[in-house]
């Protein structure tokens, strides 16, 4: 389990930067771009988290559903 702290920091970093981008774009009235940026950031993180959760399920399966 070497990915735990790393991946959390990565998600936090993406969140902060995307939030900044959203505010900056919002302030100059480019609301549609701001929403796209937020959406893409969210989708990216979602994929990351999905792969980790998949890892977790595999592990649970290998523990409890041993053939």
């Amino acid at each position: 389990m070497n990915l735990d702290a790393d991946i959390i920091f990565k998600i936090a970093g993406v969140g902060i930067v995307v939030a900044f981008l959203h505010t900056v774009l919002d302030q100059v009235g480019k609301k549609e771009y701001a929403q796209w940026v937020t959406l893409f950031g969210f989708i990216y993180i979602l994929f990351q988290v999905a792969s980790i959760v998949d890892d977790l399920f595999q592990k649970i399966k290998s523990v409890f559903l041993f053939q």
Binding site: K10, V14, V17, V18, L21, V24, V28, Y44
Partner: protein
């Protein structure tokens, strides 16, 4: 270590791109002001100096800074050296110099239309045309100042933040 150097390179590159893009926004009002003062000098040369056009253009070329000095220089050169009309000489010089300015298509059209009137009327109609062009340019300048206030800072921070995001995604 190599990763860190790469990250620094990325962030420097995107920040420089952002600053370069924002320079365009700050350059445009400045150049529009220069263009307006050039037209005012041209007006003075025509109305009070009764200067021939090629000489007036040469004088303007020595007064102006880059990029417009080279514009008036090539305009004057075309008028004296080649067999051409004022309109064509004006338009060609305009096209030559336009790429090195921060100005847009709207200003190009205004200046082109002004070139079509140049040298075809008496002094007072000419002055009216200059005034018309000046008021058009003034409107463009107000536009440019507004765009500068709005987008200059955004482009700067956008460059930096895009670099940061790229680093985090690649890490």
């Amino acid at each position: 270590m190599v990763k860190l150097i790469g990250a620094i390179f990325i962030i420097v590159a995107t920040t420089v791109i952002g600053f370069e893009a924002s320079r365009n926004f700050s350059e445009r009002p400045r150049q529009l002001r220069a263009l307006r003062s050039a037209l005012q000098s041209l007006d003075a040369e025509i109305m009070y100096g009764h200067t021939p056009l090629h000489e007036a253009a040469r004088r303007l070329a020595s007064q102006m800074t880059r990029p417009f000095s080279s514009f008036f220089e090539s305009f004057a050169g075309k008028l004296t050296n080649t067999e051409t009309t004022v309109k064509d000489a004006w338009e060609e010089s305009l096209k030559e110099v336009w790429k090195s300015t921060a100005l847009k298509q709207g200003e190009f059209e205004i200046m082109k239309q002004f070139g079509e009137t140049l040298g075809r009327h008496d002094r007072f109609s000419q002055q009216k045309h200059i005034m018309l062009t000046l008021s058009h340019l003034e409107r463009e300048e107000a536009d440019a100042v507004q765009a500068q206030a709005k987008y200059e800072k955004m482009v700067k921070s956008l460059g930096f933040l895009a670099g940061l995001l790229l680093i985090i995604l690649l890490f």
